[in-house]
Symmetry: C2
Subunit: 717 residues, 2 copies
């Protein structure tokens, strides 16, 4: 490997975006061919570096000297575009490596996406990349494009769409065709794109590497992605954390949300998609904006460009048609924005200037009467712009498009400049005359976002508002205080060693090391001892036979609850042992656990599952029937921040149960958060040893909480 530099992650990726020279293997004069298109585009756009067509069949291509092979080029080559049949790819790459090429873009398909044989060829590419230090994009990709220096290393005609808008958006896509479409749509809608990368089969470089690299690009203030499945969850997480830190929004269209979608996605690029709930939780946790449709990304990019603060989420709507205003208000509240009543000074101002205004209503309907009375919309918008207490975002119809309201366009600009508040124009049609177009242009050039698809726009406002709150909050993973002393940590490591499963009692001993509160309990090895322990705990008690081989205790009949006397305990002791023997004759029974009965709390479940992409994911839900009948649970990836734990609790539909219902006192939320954080610490410290964990039930009391039953599955070797 050259230079001793690492050849993974973002190392060397700059050569894809800023190559000093580009060779095209499989170059052609035919602009319609995959090997002809990038050559033409590089020349057409005025790429300033050297260009070397490679093709043994030609002396000259596009007026440039053509070489039979990479090795015949007399100059250094930074980047090579490979457009040859799959069978020829490896040889070309070997020549590239020999030549000291920094970056190779492989258009060719016929690798991982076609089955085991292709997979094996692809693995050779990966190995060659790792060994040579040359970075590879693809195979089976649409290439890469960097607008500012005319690096058009792609054959997708959609990427040739030009734009005058300031460049902000970089796109990274696991589907070349779909990504190129996103690029074209965004560009046409007025979003300036900085770069486009189609990652293809990700033999060497992958989605997250490009996101990570582009976050450092000053021309990239927002990143859009199309993702079917992340290859490496930890990498994506690091990139997302960096994005949040740099306050550059990362918007990802993650497909395969539903059953049918997932099936297709997993067979499409050969990437293994984790369960969609986990992705969803991960995105929310990391401040990644999940988009459902490319138009949402476009609207978001346009809104984000104004640099204003949408985070409050309280929206005023000014329309010229009641129906339109109400439709928008409905949509706003559906997506989590609020449309509050107009109050105080603002209300008084509106009541003075609008004849029919009353009762603080929002949406504000100026009616067709406002046509020809520009003072109505402008007075109204001014009052809202000056509202300091109640309104964060103003949505307005383009009143300036009305024939008799020309002067309103400048008025809009003045109002916009007088305030820091976002003002968004929700238009229905594009301007239909030059005159109207000029007014639209005046408004837009002042920085006021104008959006046409009002539902996508509303979604985008809600998502930007959420994103800004999330970015402000940041991510503070401060789990130090939840970690036990090194000695206890080592003890836990020891307890988790070996293949034999832990009994409930063993699990709880372990949990206690991490400060997780459990029921008062002790192990009895005789009926007398059980009685004595019961008296010490105080009646009633529960008895449970303990064995790492009997994990379904209810099914095995080895649990007896609500034992109220010495006799009952004696009888139960015999029974649970007998049942254990008949249920699992080979099981090693440690003894019988004597346990206090816990009452008056709310049963919840805290669990951990190992996601193949993201590692330990923590689950929270209300216990019993809520989980079983409603699947009312929330997930976050470990380690958790305190804010994550709060969100997990607030996200479940049945959260009101924790607030105390039917005269019950509220459950101790802080104790629950503390346990979530301790579980997070435990599975983070021992992620190599723990596969699954279940605290079920965990009873949250008015003060404190107690694990009543627990199960920990050690990592299978």
């Amino acid at each position: 490997m050259r230079n001793g530099a690492s050849n993974t992650g973002t190392a060397g990726i700059e050569y894809f975006f800023n190559p000093r020279s580009i060779a095209i293997v499989g170059a052609s004069d035919d602009k319609k061919k995959v090997g002809g298109r990038p050559l033409a585009a590089l020349i057409e756009r005025g790429y300033a570096g050297k260009i070397f067509p490679i093709n043994p069949r030609y002396e000259e291509v596009a007026g440039k000297r053509c070489y039979p092979s990479i090795l015949d080029v007399p100059d250094d080559i930074d980047m090579v575009i490979v457009s040859v049949p799959a069978a020829a790819v490896l040889e070309v790459l070997e020549q590239c490596a020999t030549k000291g090429v920094r970056a190779a873009v492989i258009f060719s398909s016929g690798f991982g996406e076609v089955g085991a044989e292709g997979e094996a060829e692809q693995e050779k590419i990966r190995k060659l990349a790792r060994e040579s230090g040359m970075r590879v994009l693809g195979p089976n990709c649409f290439g890469i494009m960097h607008v500012s220096n005319a690096v058009m290393a792609t054959f997708a005609h959609e990427l040739e769409t030009k734009s005058d808008s300031p460049r902000t958006l970089s796109l990274v896509a696991q589907s070349g065709a779909f990504g190129a479409r996103m690029f074209e749509d965004a560009t046409k809608a007025g979003v300036g794109c900085t770069s486009f990368t189609s990652v293809g089969n990700e033999a060497d470089t992958e989605f997250s590497d490009f996101v990570d690299y582009l976050l450092d690009d000053p021309d990239t203030t927002i990143i859009g992605g199309y993702l079917e499945g992340a290859k490496d969850g930890a990498k994506l997480k690091r990139a997302a954390e960096k994005a949040l830190r740099l306050q550059k929004p990362l918007l990802i269209m993650k497909v395969g949300r539903t059953r049918a979608g997932s099936r297709a996605a997993s067979s499409h690029t050969g990437s293994l998609a984790g369960a969609d709930e986990i992705y969803d939780a991960f995105f929310r946790q990391m401040g990644i904006v999940r988009i459902e449709h490319p138009d949402e990304m476009t609207a978001f990019a346009i809104l984000h460009r104004d640099g204003r603060d949408y985070s409050g989420g309280r929206v005023a709507i000014v329309s010229g048609s009641g129906g339109h205003g109400v439709m928008l208000a409905d949509k706003c509240e559906t997506v989590g924005l609020s449309v509050p009543e107009i109050r105080g000074h603002t209300r008084a101002k509106l009541e003075r200037s609008l004849p029919a205004f009353g009762s603080g209503k929002n949406p504000i309907d100026l009616t067709a009467a406002a046509n020809g009375k520009p003072e109505m919309p402008s007075g109204c918008l001014r009052a809202l712009a000056e509202d300091e207490d109640n309104i964060d975002v103003i949505l307005t119809m383009p009143f300036f498009q009305w024939e008799r309201s020309k002067e309103l366009a400048q008025e809009f600009v003045d109002i916009y400049r007088s305030t820091n508040k976002p003002l968004v124009v929700m238009a229905h049609d594009r301007p239909d005359s030059d005159e109207a177009a000029a007014r639209f242009a005046l408004v837009q050039s002042a920085g006021i976002p104008i959006l046409y698809d009002q539902f996508q726009a509303t979604e985008a406002i809600a998502k930007l508002s959420w994103y800004q709150r999330k970015a402000r909050q940041g991510r503070v993973v401060d789990t130090g205080p939840k970690a036990p002393d090194p000695a206890s940590c080592a003890e836990v490591r020891e307890m988790l060693r070996g293949g034999e499963p832990l009994s409930e009692f063993g699990c709880k001993q372990l949990l206690k090391k991490y400060g997780i509160p459990v029921t008062r309990e002790a192990l009895a090895t005789s009926a007398d001892m059980a009685v004595e322990l019961s008296r010490n705990l105080g009646y009633p008690v529960a008895l449970k036979a303990q064995s790492g081989q009997i994990l379904h205790k209810t099914e095995a009949g080895v649990i007896k609850l609500n034992l109220a006397s010495d006799q009952e305990v004696r009888r139960a002791y015999k029974e649970v042992l007998a049942n254990a023997r008949s249920y699992a004759p080979q099981a090693h029974v440690e003894g019988v656990l004597v346990q206090e009965m816990v009452r008056d709390g709310v049963e919840v479940i805290v669990g951990v599952t190992k996601d193949p992409v993201f590692g330990p994911a923590i689950m929270f839900g209300l216990g019993g029937i809520f989980v079983e009948a409603l699947r009312d649970v929330s997930f976050r990836i470990a380690p958790l921040t305190r804010a994550d734990a709060e969100e997990m609790i607030d996200e479940i539909r049945g959260r009101r149960v924790l607030e105390g219902m039917r005269g019950k006192p509220p459950a101790d939320r802080d104790a629950l958060i503390d346990i979530l954080l301790r579980v997070s610490q435990l599975v983070t410290d021992h992620r190599d040893q723990i596969d699954e964990l279940d605290l079920n039930p965990l009873v949250v009391l008015p003060k404190g909480a107690k694990v009543v039953d627990a199960l920990i599955t050690k990592r299978a070797r």
Copy 2:
């Protein structure tokens, strides 16, 4: 009133659509004025009837003789358009009535929408209409338009948008501006509109009257509505039932869904909106398609035009880009369509003709490789069209737009004609050349729907699929078997008479008359009697002091549960009576109810609330914490069909609880349905006497069900 005909409902409405003569009061030569616009439009479109401009200031308007007043017109007048200031409206209408005008359209605003004074003027209009028999549209409306005979009784320029498409859609709107926009958008998208009605303030005629009338119009095969609130729920229900019977879809955009929306809607036209949950339930019950955005209506109308069967809802997706296919599949499943694996013969066919096809995957991704290989898309579509068992609807990209696939357009037409299955083209861009446009036109003219907004299209497919199932099912309200004999019915009527509230025992006696099963129980008036009754019932029992004045029995402490012995019953008897006395010293206590304890069932709640628009609405939910923490309930308007009851049960999120969880047997669904239908019969028979009803809890057992507690609120006088 003329002719002895009724002057409410749809009577006389034909004169709005087919007037033989039209007068315009406030007529003007200025085409931009509200009084000038319809005159110009009537002439321009070639309205064949007589036109009489009315304006005392002119001798002639638009080349036609102008009359000083309606009374000066020498001919009969069927319809009058009134475009004068609010203050002059009533005088004009009086002249109209004197003249024997059949229908008046009032553009003028300044009535119900501006407050109490306007409301009073509007009431005069209503009275005049009722007394004279002349039907009135408005005031404060955009008028009416009937395309086939050029009745352009409107000033909205949007309604002048022309169309070549076959006419199918009639629009009725409570917001003129928004409705006109819907008309324009639908027309531009290729839907032929038959008529448009802006109902304004609905002083006389209302939304439902026009829907009802238009259902009989052969040129109207689908009706679109914009609704803020129905004035008369019963009328809307009749219209909806008729629409379902005639299989003419009724699509309504009902705004005011959320809090903010509702507030604005209720102050917008002065119509009282019922709670949105009730509207939603009513729409689902009646087969009304609720749309969230006008574009959904347009897409629905285009799909519906093909006359094919979408009801199965199993979709195959054929795309040329994996990302696009997966996005569509995700959206399909989100809206309730399914995207099943390709199976059997079809799978074998695809495996033969598509190189990369395997594992039955759907969406089917033909990849860019299909460009120039028209046999790939056509073979694939043919195989899907022939699939008899697994696929109901085929969604496809417009492969015929690819440069090298011209001949595919005719291929699409041939495939479409070879099958009865819907084939929908999901296009991204409109054709960008004349050549491409010709191919699109060829496909479209064969009847194949082409849609551009793919999310709205998918929503529309799901809604059409739902609608067709609903229309096939129809509405069979067969409540006869649930009605008691006339004598019992009369007894119930007697029990519900008078102002004094019913005790639990009283309610249950009443419920029993309707065959609704209740707990075994009897009223004790002494402790001895309570003990005797308890022994007869079998221990354990519950005791509850009974009084129509003590409705919150738990709060009052007059309930004792799980009494297991004579002594406990004696003690409890005294206690509940003492508590009743101290809680409500004035209350008349009928006695103490001795009741069996019911175990091993699922607690549910069945309730009735009186909706101001739709009357008695029946609610169903799981009892206890499910209702309180999750508001997990469903509604339907009485009377219920059996299908309604089934849907109510299936709609709640926690429905799995009824199926038997954690080893419990399933609850008796038939018994529950039976009770829902009996409650429906009860509140339908006595809707004038019952305001509210609560069976809470109703315990559904493995076999049968029992009302454990009940409350009936008599109608307040």
